[in-house]
Symmetry: C2
Subunit: 463 residues, 2 copies
């Protein structure tokens, strides 16, 4: 069908003004008098809606007037400038065809609905202003990430979702199986006989693609992953989902400084891209969801991120322990309250905290010369706390093996990972960005359920 | 670290000739005489390797000379044109630092290894020419797909991986569970008590994001998905994997013609992008993997795809039944031999076959006026057969319900899907492109295990 999008009308209005155009879309509101009527229509291509004027010279004037919110229509008419009105133009319709009616019990009426209610109709909520804005920004942010890495020559690697290993023991995992749950095959000693399972062994959904990603960084030098990740954690919070998307770049011939430079450039790139490509949506969030949003994002784009060691950060925080629920001392993990204090009160801009105690970080992080800390880095941003976590990786074969033994990791499971240190090891580093956390940060939305199209959380797997 | 990539040296050589440069990479080969030596180095950024000349004035001449293939080095020297040689330039090194040695048992020596052997070392095979080429093309093709849809205003939707429904019963599914497999909780009647599972019900890994995607197309008009998909089929072939990636665009206010136009434009775009961005890799495939590759791909880009109905196609095929193992008659599904005959022998270019018998297609496809066929479409390409399958969707509430009843589908499970036909239904259509099949088509590689970084197949889930 030859339809012009509403986005195209707004972006290239000069081309279409006083011309005949045909658009298709869904009715947001409709009102009529005896001889004419107004329809506000949205076609999903653009945040701002389009006004249609129709009139009783049309054969189907009566049919049009009785349409409900949500109905799909196709409109042909002339695009006319409306300098007196709020909107820049409208369509004076010659013809309005009803493509699909909307039943009277349509759940989205003109009034405001709570996010909680809208979560119960996840198949319809993208038709509302808020969720149109959220999911367009989500799409643009995803593309910005690909664009950023591809422009820099990074290779996109699809690390596997089904895995036979548990990565770093980073979290509870979902089992993947084709065994008959009603009649699980057992070994003689009563344990489950996984040799009968699809892969001939125990398998789960991945919690991170990092270790696989490292193998490709040692071949392509600069790679990134962008794919789904899973945690079977029984935590019913506004920031946890069982299924979420993660971006994990990994760079060879690179140290912690290079890692921070990359993360800073990436965050600034994503924010700038979304501000540029979705100004209407971002203004909407700033007005109706999170008043300080635009100022905060512009501040991130325009500031140099601060860099501080964990040890220095702890010194600063200890002096303010009276302000915190959890008191800080060297060795403890930082809580969100501490992270936000650092980035919002102390630095008033994003900050990288580096060199954490090895005990609170993963086995693969590079041991610093002090023997106590590792070359880890968290990026903290105002309004949210930690948004990125990464590290330089231990590239020394013997040191990595020793650390694995300390932690009782099974060497056989990590043979491939040790191989990377045996054959042409390089300084290398990488980080993980939780994509939903990033979208929440970009939009000001405060519940992860509202930035995932179909969120999966404890006891919730609808549609 | 301030290193220049080998890609940058090749792409902007004028800038670097006769200048000091520093590169980091892995040794592909090394040979020395008493006073100087040659190293061929690859840094993963570019398909062509770079030659380094080093000499005995270096303190560590001996150390360098004893390095093994696979070792990582950092080289500083002058980029010098070599008009007499095969390669356009080389680096006359001032300094070669060993970043990481390569143990003597490095599994990749200079000789050719079989793909079968390389599958057993999936963490190292991206360091070989073939797999460098495959996985760079895979990355570029993925980006081309995003670029194509984003430039056309499509919204990228992350449809869920864990699902409580079985879509169209399209294939065997993997179960996702956190129940204790050694002690599965049971109901009084002996069935499994899934209310105790993580989501409070039975869940599996998705076989398609289409139905979820349709809900977003009815809000954004044009959307696409690009994510992992799963099939627990016990088929050990060169074309099946248990975990693969799929692209599923869905367009509202669009019919089967629009669907074919989109698919044709997309395929041409992907091919053109890869030919443009990876000429070295594509020449390599054409020389060493599949002699007719470039000719075939150029032919696809430059031809208008043919369009034929299933009924017409069957008439053509029936006349040639003596050539086929499986004889064709109206009502049967087309086999790869038939598909390839149509596209390679009859049309000699890609062909869309449309309007299949409803019995061999999914319930959601739009019933044609003949009452016998549905508005389905498969796109067949030379050398492979079907690469894309799609359809216009049934947009009539009553017809869809009737079809679901014929097929005994549980209406309650599809309430959300029926809602789309109840509230502002539109003509709409979409298709699925299996990403691995697309990469195989682009590279000429003939085993799906060789285009997935870490393939998952029956009894195989390594790393």
């Amino acid at each position: 069908m030859e339809l012009v999008t509403i986005r195209e009308l707004f972006k290239n209005r000069e081309k279409y003004l006083d011309q005949k155009v045909t658009v298709g879309g869904w009715i947001r509101s409709i009102r009529d008098s005896k001889t004419f009527g107004f329809i506000v229509v949205n076609d999903g291509s653009y945040f701002e809606p389009l006004q249609i004027v129709y009139h009783d010279k049309m054969e189907n004037f009566g049919e049009i007037s009785k349409q409900n919110v949500g109905a799909a229509i196709i409109v042909t008419g002339t695009l006319v400038a409306t300098p007196q009105a709020k909107q820049p133009f409208e369509i004076q319709a010659d013809e309005v065809t009803v493509e699909g009616t909307s039943a009277p019990d349509y759940p989205l009426q003109k009034k405001r609905h709570s996010f909680e209610y809208l979560r119960t109709i996840s198949h319809l909520r993208p038709r509302t202003n808020t969720f149109q804005a959220v999911f367009r920004v989500r799409s643009l942010a995803a593309y910005a990430i690909h664009k950023f890495f591809q422009e820099r020559g990074f290779v996109y690697v699809h690390t596997p979702l089904i895995t036979g290993s548990d990565c770093e023991g980073a979290g509870e995992m979902f089992r993947v199986t084709t065994l008959d749950m009603g009649n699980v095959p057992k070994n003689e000693d009563g344990t489950v006989d996984y040799t009968k399972d699809f892969f001939g062994k125990e398998t789960s959904l991945t919690v991170s693609g990092q270790l696989n990603g490292e193998t490709y960084a040692q071949a392509f030098r600069s790679i990134y992953t962008f794919g789904p990740t899973f945690r079977a954690e029984n935590s019913n919070t506004t920031r946890h989902a069982a299924e979420f998307w993660m971006i994990e770049p990994e760079i060879a011939f690179a140290d912690l400084e290079d890692n921070m430079d990359l993360a800073e450039a990436m965050l600034k790139y994503i924010i700038s891209y979304v501000l540029e490509e979705a100004p209407e949506e971002m203004n909407f969030f700033n007005s109706f969801v999170d008043k300080g949003l635009l100022e905060r994002l512009h501040n991130v784009v325009n500031s140099d991120f601060a860099r501080v060691t964990y040890t220095e950060a702890v010194e600063i925080l200890e002096k303010n322990n009276d302000k915190f629920e959890y008191k800080v001392s060297w060795g403890c993990d930082l809580q969100t309250e501490h992270e936000r204090y650092l980035t919002e009160q102390v630095y008033k801009r994003p900050v990288f905290v580096t060199d954490y105690p090895k005990e609170i970080k993963a086995f693969y992080m590079k041991l610093n010369e002090d023997g106590k800390t590792v070359a880890a880095v968290d990026c903290l941003v105002p309004g949210i706390g930690e948004i990125i976590g990464g590290s330089q990786r231990e590239d020394d074969y013997e040191k990595l093996r020793a650390r694995m033994q300390e932690l009782d990791l099974c060497e056989e499971d990590y043979k491939f990972y040790l191989d990377l240190r045996k054959y042409g090891s390089t300084r290398h580093a990488g980080y993980g960005l939780g994509f939903e956390r990033c979208v929440m940060y970009l939009t000001g939305m405060s519940n992860i359920r509202d930035v995932l199209p179909f969120p999966r959380t404890v006891n919730n797997c609808e549609l």
